[in-house]
Subunit: 500 residues, 2 copies
Amino acid sequence: MLEKIDLSKKVDKETYKQVMEAEGERLGQLQRECKAAGIPVIIVFEGFGAAGKGVQINRLIQALDPRGFSVYATNSSNEEARLRPFLWQFWTQTPAKGRIEIFDCSWYKSVTEDRFDGITKEKDVPGAYQDILSFEKQLTDDGTVIIKLFLHISKGEQKKRFKKLDSAKETAWRVTKQDWKRNKEYDKFLKITEEMLENTETEYAPWTIIEATDKDYAAMKIRTTVTERLAYELARRKEIVSEKPQPSGKPAERFQNGVLSGVDLTKSLTREEYKKELDKLQKKLETLHSELYRLRIPVVLGFEGWDAGGKGGAIKRLTSRLDPRGYQVNPTSAANDIEKVHHYLWRFWNNMPKGGHIAIFDRTWYGRVMVERIEGFCTEAEWKRAYQEINEMESHMANFGAVVLKFWLHIDKDEQERRFKERMENPAKQWKITDEDWRNREKWDQYEAAVDEMLVRTSTTYAPWIVVEGNDKLYARVKVLRTVVDALEKKIAEVSGKES
Amino acid sequence: MLEKIDLSKKVDKETYKQVMEAEGERLGQLQRECKAAGIPVIIVFEGFGAAGKGVQINRLIQALDPRGFSVYATNSSNEEARLRPFLWQFWTQTPAKGRIEIFDCSWYKSVTEDRFDGITKEKDVPGAYQDILSFEKQLTDDGTVIIKLFLHISKGEQKKRFKKLDSAKETAWRVTKQDWKRNKEYDKFLKITEEMLENTETEYAPWTIIEATDKDYAAMKIRTTVTERLAYELARRKEIVSEKPQPSGKPAERFQNGVLSGVDLTKSLTREEYKKELDKLQKKLETLHSELYRLRIPVVLGFEGWDAGGKGGAIKRLTSRLDPRGYQVNPTSAANDIEKVHHYLWRFWNNMPKGGHIAIFDRTWYGRVMVERIEGFCTEAEWKRAYQEINEMESHMANFGAVVLKFWLHIDKDEQERRFKERMENPAKQWKITDEDWRNREKWDQYEAAVDEMLVRTSTTYAPWIVVEGNDKLYARVKVLRTVVDALEKKIAEVSGKES
């Protein structure tokens, strides 16, 4: 494929100037339209070393309003990123609605340079492609435009450019040993690159190959590619009849699985049993926490459940002896201004733990398929596709080596009423109960149906749901702790086994 | 001072339980009140190694609502932080209004551990104290409550604890060689610590020494210290008659310095001169950019000026040949929701460049003493104190080795009118002009007075203002470029001189 491309394409100064000016003005205009329409835009620059990504990005952004874009230079030596799965740094950098994010190298590094260098193992390549495809799909489903550019130069041209950089003190540091290796083994790298282009060419995020021998020609083609794509996407969006969010509170129209109705809520513990167990488990967890820090294992614990189901109490018992440097509780409330203009998973990606850390989520990304579904805060298409999106995110964490557990703290309707009333009567607890809690309670059946569906669709081997029998708080807390302890012990044994 | 403290203090289980429960409930209540009052709270945990900071932080946060606080573990191996001046990581972590940020070690590391280890040079110690004092002053002036706790244990107790940690596989990694060295030379470290406590004991951010031999006693004292301080600060704030923002548009009541009125706006260049100069300077800048990357020099360029003064055009010429990986243009518009609940300098701290990078600000922190002053968006006390705050921030960057330049793009009132009209007539430029621009124009004289005062008060040797004669755009652009080139050359020579 790439070898068929005519790399000798050129442009004369006059045409160049004309096209750049006309397309530049058009680009400025399109940027303003995308902003008005709230469309996030991603522009990916990939290509052979010394193909001129820096120069080309700079020529492109000269036509953009700096208030509306940023350039993100992918940095593999970034420690924050290294301790997290590879999509993390890109998820956290996805543009808000109406903004343009330009990636100078991107997630494609994992299946090109890193593969060539042996950092990505061959056995992990198929998984990496899958992650990339689902990442791009999730973003485009959410309305993002992804423009992918590949800057192509020949082996000889690359060699010439490396030599030139190498010859001056100011630029010599730019050419690394690996760069020279990729030039020497150009054909091998070409093959890897072609495979990448083929595997990730999709209708929703297609590639454009840029002949980059002549810088002016390349700049012109890039600018035109971007304007044409933006114009196309803007026009396409105007045609789509806007799918308005509608309350779709009714239970799923199918036989409910009835997970929750089968839960035995009579389980309980005496206070003595509780104290003994709790103490033992907390001590164990403290030791395990040190171990997982040493082994750099990340842990994701999600807590969902009925209002007054005991999430707070369970989290408190879980964390009361942990070193605060190694865990973080992330409470999830309604999205703020910044969160609202990103993909709904964006804020959770931001809080994903690094290796050795525990991230506890008090309410989670499952809000999408519960409250957002029932209150009509998102469209039916959106919450229906969320099950898969969520599974993909959790599997990405799990593949990275994370322990992922999700707890549903279950109580029955009578128990909830008892707890609500207790809160209202106790002055120290009154702040915990609001009118909204009572309103949500009225929708118990709708929620139960949504929860049942959620539990069935998103309980996976790599990220299971644990339904916790919560009418007895003591029993519930111990069950949560024990489940966490067991899962950590298992994971640590697995990883230590590999170590030795 | 520290040697006088009785480290044998203890508490019995019963008292402990009672106090912790009572103070815990009170703390929860106070946290909610602080949230309602929009008060940001910082709690600093410092102390000797193995004094139990982790355990104590954890006991404290058990009483807090996790939706309202975070724990920040200071990390000196954080690459992002290492490439920036030492206050950067703390500025970016300061809490929003109504939130609590707990620092597990803090900015005090620079004058304790880092000083002991020789990372902070003795000659830099006085400067570090000054930076710390102004940092705490700026935050408390802005309404933040700063609670500083120092956990104290004896040399013998520390040794015992290190040994215990060292003896178990899971915890041995926690004790470093430096820890042992600080134990062996306890008296030397004690002296450094005492100096730190004395130098940074202020009325607005006082220290509390915590006797940390008995963990329960320490936990109890910490919890009580925090509740009492919060109660005190809440009460104090109710007494203060709230100082409401008032428009104070009138010119400073003193003889104006008249900086702007003396500017010669007839300066100009022919198009040939311009093209030749521009090309030469841009090429030079490209080379210098590589050099400063290699030498890890950060560069801060601020652009202010009259509306239509030519900021955008000057920035475009400045950046058009730069590698986008090495610079960022930060446009400053009205603060968003998140920015509004932080200190006004917070968002600029977030965008300060790391070593080797250029940060360009299109409008800057000077908004505080111009638009915010004139429109009454802040109080008189606030903008008056801003001159010093700004000088402190810029000096912190300059001391770190940054080049800091600020440009005022100056045109006269007639020229502005001409440009406004031109924009209105040109369809491709209409979006650039709004009613607000015309409204601001009516306040020209007020702005001129404010700008004059600003230029006088904040043009320093380490961060000078450059007034750019802007009626002729060509002249202005070349002057900006030449000033930047000259400053970079000077700095690079200085740093290279040191290198060789």
